[in-house]
């Protein structure tokens, strides 16, 4: 039968993140180009420093609305025509905004790249923001919010942010805006937001794919020639927590067969010096399939289909969160296991096997992450958004490799805070409430969805 001898790995072949050129064009636009010639395809990603954290107070959602509205008509084409033009070229096209930036992204065959990029330049430089389309996009966002009421995963994420962050932090409200804020947005708000945030100084254009840096440069200069000059500033983002003690919030969903759980606290900003030790620590805690939390909840107990933990890295301090869904009856024991795992990784050094699993995984999987032009463009976007060193990707694996057991323990002790944990349960309050009493989860309150 099959040999019992496990094969040993051969010598590893070297890998380098695709080489790229990073320059500032005369107009002030930052241009990053990474020629990748594997297939006749390219991705163009336009990043603008116009994310949700740049929104004026009360205008939550205007960043996303503006990014979406860029595709709804220019001085030359209306929205339907623009979609038709892009799609006749076979362009896969997306626009949107998250906390830290707004983006437009196309992936297209290289034979159509020039034409598609010119259209993209047109969309972003001369939008007309038709009133009717703005109102339609608002209505679509409101429909999305309404859907959350019956969608436990999204609802749990949203409620977690709301219970976690203080009102003064933009992170307490959904990045795409709330019912109240989105309803109040007007065409004027969109235009105003566009004028103040969309300019050359706040823009990075990234092209990854089958085109030389020189041709990409000429193309961008031509396609984004009408781009207004100006500079942009990052808004420093408060990550102030709403509470300074742990507490539990049940969002009642009658007869829910499962409880969606979110347990966590305010985490760290992306540029924190402890990024690497924290990344490795989280991989051991809940970041991998073979992590403590997943093996415990799924493989040892069969409580769940999957459980994980992550730091949501943003410019400001995004959340640290453990996320899972468990059968309603085992809500209390599942929470107990999660708290136990958070305590355990703070109390004792992880084993050498655990450390090597996390490090070897993160180092080894690195080249697998950058197989596509879209993935390479996203990686380059990360450099730009968080202002990371140009050699970030070349030194990534060394930085992972240098994390020790002690550094992991230090990261766990410094950056995990059991006394501040906020727990959100979207589930059947009648089933879960009673069992939580003696679980040291802090004060328990029940809310409507």
């Amino acid at each position: 039968m099959v040999t019992s001898l496990r094969p040993k790995p051969g010598p590893a072949r070297s890998y380098r993140f695709p080489q790229f050129k990073d320059e500032t064009l005369p107009t002030g636009v930052r241009l990053i180009t990474a020629p990748v010639t594997k297939l006749p395809l390219a991705t163009v990603l336009v990043l603008v420093n116009a994310g949700s954290t740049n929104e004026p107070r009360g205008k939550e959602g205007v960043a996303a609305l503006t990014a979406a509205a860029l595709l709804e008509g220019t001085t030359r084409f209306d929205g339907a025509e623009l979609a038709e033009k892009f799609e006749q070229l076979g362009t896969s096209l997306e626009s949107g905004a998250d906390w830290d930036s707004a983006f437009l992204k196309i992936t297209v065959l290289s034979s159509k790249l020039e034409e598609a990029t010119r259209l993209l330049g047109d969309a972003i430089s001369s939008p007309i923001f038709p009133e009717r389309e703005i109102e339609r996009l608002k209505a679509e966002r409101l429909a999305e919010i309404l859907q959350l009421e019956t969608e436990p995963r999204g609802l749990a994420d949203e409620k977690f942010s709301e219970f976690l962050y203080d009102d003064e932090s933009r992170y307490s409200t959904p990045d795409q805006g709330s019912i109240v804020s989105v309803r109040s947005l007007t065409r004027g708000d969109v235009e105003q937001f566009y004028r103040s945030n969309y300019n050359s100084g706040g823009t990075t254009v990234i092209i990854a794919g089958d085109i030389s840096s020189e041709n990409a440069r000429n193309l961008v200069i031509e396609a984004f020639g009408k781009w207004p000059e100006g500079s942009s500033q990052d808004q420093p983002q408060s990550g102030k927590a709403r509470r300074n003690r742990k507490s539990t919030h049940i969002v009642n969903k009658l007869n829910a067969p499962q409880s969606e759980l979110r347990v966590g606290h305010v985490g760290l900003p992306r540029k924190h010096p402890d990024f690497f030790p924290t990344l490795v620590m989280n991989a051991v805690l809940g970041g991998l399939f073979g992590s403590r939390i997943n093996l415990n909840l799924r493989e040892a107990h069969g409580y769940t289909y999957g459980a994980s933990s992550f730091y949501d890295w943003r410019r400001g301090p995004g959340p640290f969160v453990v996320s899972t869904a468990v059968e309603s009856e085992v809500t209390a024991p599942a929470l107990r296991e999660i708290l136990m795992e958070i305590d355990r990784i703070r109390d004792e050094r992880i084993s050498a096997e655990e450390l090597s699993l996390a490090r070897d995984y993160l180092e080894g999987v690195f080249p697998i992450r950058y197989e596509t032009t879209a993935a390479i463009a996203s990686a380059l976007a990360t450099l730009s958004i968080y202002d990371l060193n140009p050699d970030y990707y070349d030194s990534y694996r060394t930085n992972i490799h240098n994390v020790s057991e002690d550094a992991v323990l230090r990261a766990a002790k410094t950056h995990l805070h059991p006394e501040l944990l906020q727990t959100v349960i979207v589930g059947d309050a009648a089933t879960v409430r009673g069992s939580l009493a003696d679980h040291s989860l802090g004060e328990v309150t029940v809310h409507d969805a």
């Binding site: 099959v2 493989e299 468990v326 080249p367």
Partner: protein, 435 residues
Amino acid sequence: MRIPVETSRLENGLLVTLSEDHTAPIVAVNLWYHVGSANEKIGRTGFAHLFEHMLFQGSAHVSSNEHFELIQRAGGTLNGSTWLERTNYFETVPSNELGLALWLEADRMGELLPAMTQTKLDTQRDVVKNERRWSVDNQPYGTFLEKMQELVFPASHPFQHSLIGSMDDLSAASLDDVAQFFATYYTPDNAVLSIAGDFESAETRQMVNDYFGPIPRGKTRPPLPPMDLPPVFGERLRELVYDSVSLPRLFMAFRSPVFGSEAYYAASIISAVLGLRRGSRLHRSLVRERQVAADASAFTFDLAKGTDLLVVDVTARPETSAAQLEDEVEREIDHLHREGVSEMEVRRATSLIETDLTASLQSAGERADRLSMFATYFGDPALINEQADRYRAVTTEEVNEIISERFEENNRASLLYVPQERVGSEHVLAAAGTA
């Protein structure tokens, strides 16, 4: 654009496909077993998928969960998935770890049973029940797949029952079932192994021979019951689902030509004309112009046996009633059936599909998966290189011919979700239900 494809067959029947690409030091290993929920016995719905979970619980020389650990330790990614017609298992690893991935797959194909225990089965049963709660029972519209299967396939048809399975059937699954299913379906002559990425052909073939060669061929498998179905339903099918959802949502299905057939490509283009991206008909008409829908799309199931299904998926805006939503979609389909589509629409669809096809071939894992798919369904992995040409060869006339055959009233099946809270205000639907 063509990728290299090299095909051979071991003496035990295992079909092996290799596709070299040395641009990055990574390699994908992908196995398709030609068994899915369609092969399940009565009273064992969900078993093919539960069995997929058991394949990660160790084998003769691999302990429980070690498969995951060894691959992740090697810096690789992995998973498996179950569908009506097949089950697949896949890893992408640094190229110097190809041997490990092949050996792990061979060990569980050859000697799974020594590692199976009642405790492991019980735990994975609980995990799968939680997967069902998570993705079906506690998720809005999560019952779509099983309700659609039930609505559109005749009672005895192998595609008619639930893929994830009922709680009762999952509870009934035993270790004997595991042993029997393994012996019947997890044999080299019922599998395809594809390897794509950075490897040397001769050395790799040697490894495949060494690891998989000793595994014995299987015995005869029970044939699937007759799968063939007429090209249309023959009547208007309709089901209302009152559920815990916020907005009405309509899934309208049509029987369409099986995956891989000449006519499939025309049907796939119709699906893209109707619902691929913002320039598609349904998006332009129902979302942009008439503003009755919040979202609209269309897709095909890509079933290779019996019949395929083309599905239109439209979610209402809050102010649109379920009845109104159905009328609006119906009107679009009537219009399509009457007038057909234009050359421009076909061109838009084909261009988008071609970009997506090319983009998908960037990843080694995706290449290997498609090679396995074409090898499993048609015995010919090289079909991967003919897809773009096949789409380009489709004429507008061919598309319109399929439309006139397949979009009549008697080939429409509506699965309409209605928010529970609205039941009172939408009683009119019940009356319309039998129309």
